[in-house]
């Protein structure tokens, strides 16, 4: 089993119309080299699940600007004016989800749960069309799980089995989306041999990882 691949070996995995989860918070902790590959392939009609649509010139914001995205499920689009413009022109579907709800929907998708009950959004337009349950006198919304065809994540250090460590605030969505997609690709800033990453420092166990794009410092 060899998970370490070149950019060319990754290319056949990506297809038009796929649902992708992308790690990162306003571009911090985003796998930028994999975004480059997606731009080069110019695959279309993507559904993107991510915290935000970043900036027009950074991270997954570039996919939006390049017209490759059909739908985004996200918590924030305010830093990328192109997302709003395409949405207003009816060219991009935007589903806004509270940030804490979005991460829990992904977590439940990866954890084999049927969804989560959250008080966030009760009494707002977020509750429209959702099942409301009262548990011990308090109202909750039933929020359904999310999964993707492919999750692309950014690791600070990965070993050749895919065990991954994330530095600083690059963690954000990465460890969670790594659990919720059929195929998971890590872009490793630093790639090390198996055994060189202390098992106590592993944040995403390598068993979640299918492919590693490594040594791209």
């Amino acid at each position: 089993m060899n998970k370490v691949v070149s950019p060319d070996q990754l290319k056949p995995l990506f297809k038009d119309g796929m649902t992708l989860m992308v790690g990162g918070f306003l571009g911090c902790g985003t796998p930028h080299k994999i975004i480059d590959i997606l731009i080069e392939l110019n695959i279309k009609n993507l559904t993107i699940i991510a915290n935000d649509t970043s900036f027009a010139d950074k991270g997954l914001g570039r996919l939006v600007v390049n017209g490759q995205v059909k739908k985004v499920i996200t918590s924030h689009i305010g830093t990328n004016s192109e997302t709003g413009r395409l949405m207003n022109e009816g060219k991009l579907e935007v589903q806004l989800v509270p940030q804490g709800t979005l991460i829990e929907r992904i977590r439940s998708g990866g954890a084999g749960l049927g969804g989560v009950l959250t008080p966030t959004g009760v009494g707002t337009i977020v509750e429209e069309g959702k099942q409301k349950l009262t548990i011990e006198g308090k109202e909750y919304l039933l929020e359904l799980p999310l999964r993707a065809d492919i999750a692309i994540i950014k690791g600070s250090i990965s070993d050749e089995f895919g065990n991954t460590f994330y530095r600083g605030t690059t963690k954000n969505y990465n460890p969670i989306i790594a659990t919720a997609a059929d195929v998971v690709i890590v872009e490793a800033e630093q790639l090390v041999k198996i055994g060189e990453l202390d098992a106590d420092h592993v944040m995403t166990p390598g068993v979640f990882i299918d492919y590693i794009l490594g040594g791209i410092e």
């Binding site: 306003l26 911090c28 918590s75 940030q99 804490g100 991460i103 530095r167 969505y173």
Partner: protein, 219 residues
């Protein structure tokens, strides 16, 4: 009043609400200024929803670390004793009631403690980000904002814009006054030394109950 001075007044007054040992989340913009006025000797831990507690100030030029950013995508620092974590943990802290105080801006806030700060339909749709979770989960919600927007009241009987959360606001701090949200309605607790009750009322779109212990704003 000059808006820079007004914002300083608001930030200074909000800082007085913080207590030693609290975990606090400050929104982007004016609320962030609160961190400049934490009283000496008081230990307040700042939470950033992109994944850290113990957030420090901006780094020195040349010391920026691209792996350490705040929720507004600016470079930041972490203080000794701080910790990084993923977004699930970040919102466990927020939604689970572990954040003592959240300070946010508002487009509108009303006398039932409803807050609107994430969308102006058809005009501005940035998204709610973490605001809905923060307002829902934090133990205390402080709205820190200029008293009016383009001369129009932002404190209303009933919010007109889509809500961020229902009935969650506890305190409103503006450059003119401090208002507590109670079951009986909005209680005017403090006013700035350069204003009057009548002036505050004229800029407010809701009924104000004047506190019997009305004070000059402590800044």
């Amino acid at each position: 009043m000059d808006s820079k001075i007004a914002k300083q007044i608001i930030a200074k007054r909000v800082a007085k609400e913080l207590k030693d040992g609290q975990l606090v989340n400050l929104g982007i913009g004016l609320p962030t200024m609160v961190s400049n006025y934490v009283p000496e000797g008081m230990m307040v831990t700042f939470h950033s929803e992109n994944g850290m507690v113990g957030m420090g100030g901006a780094p020195e030029q040349g010391e920026e670390n691209e792996d350490v950013t705040n929720a507004g995508a600016q470079f930041t620092t972490i203080l000794p004793g701080g910790a990084y974590f993923d977004s699930a943990m970040s919102f466990i802290l927020i939604r689970g009631g572990h954040v003592d105080v959240t300070v946010l801006g508002a487009l509108e806030v009303d006398q039932e403690g409803n807050l609107a700060n994430w969308i102006v339909p058809g005009k501005m749709v940035p998204g709610m980000g973490g605001a809905m979770d923060l307002v829902t989960g934090a133990k205390k919600v402080i709205v820190a904002m200029m008293h009016t927007g383009k001369g129009e009241p932002k404190i209303l009987k009933k919010c007109k814009l889509p809500l961020t959360a229902k009935g969650k606001v506890n305190l409103i701090v503006t450059e003119l006054c401090v208002i507590e949200v109670t079951k009986e309605g909005l209680v005017l607790k403090e006013i700035h030394k350069d204003t009057t009750i009548d002036e505050v009322k004229s800029h407010t779109g809701a009924e104000l109950i004047i506190s019997k212990q009305l004070k000059t704003m402590d800044i």
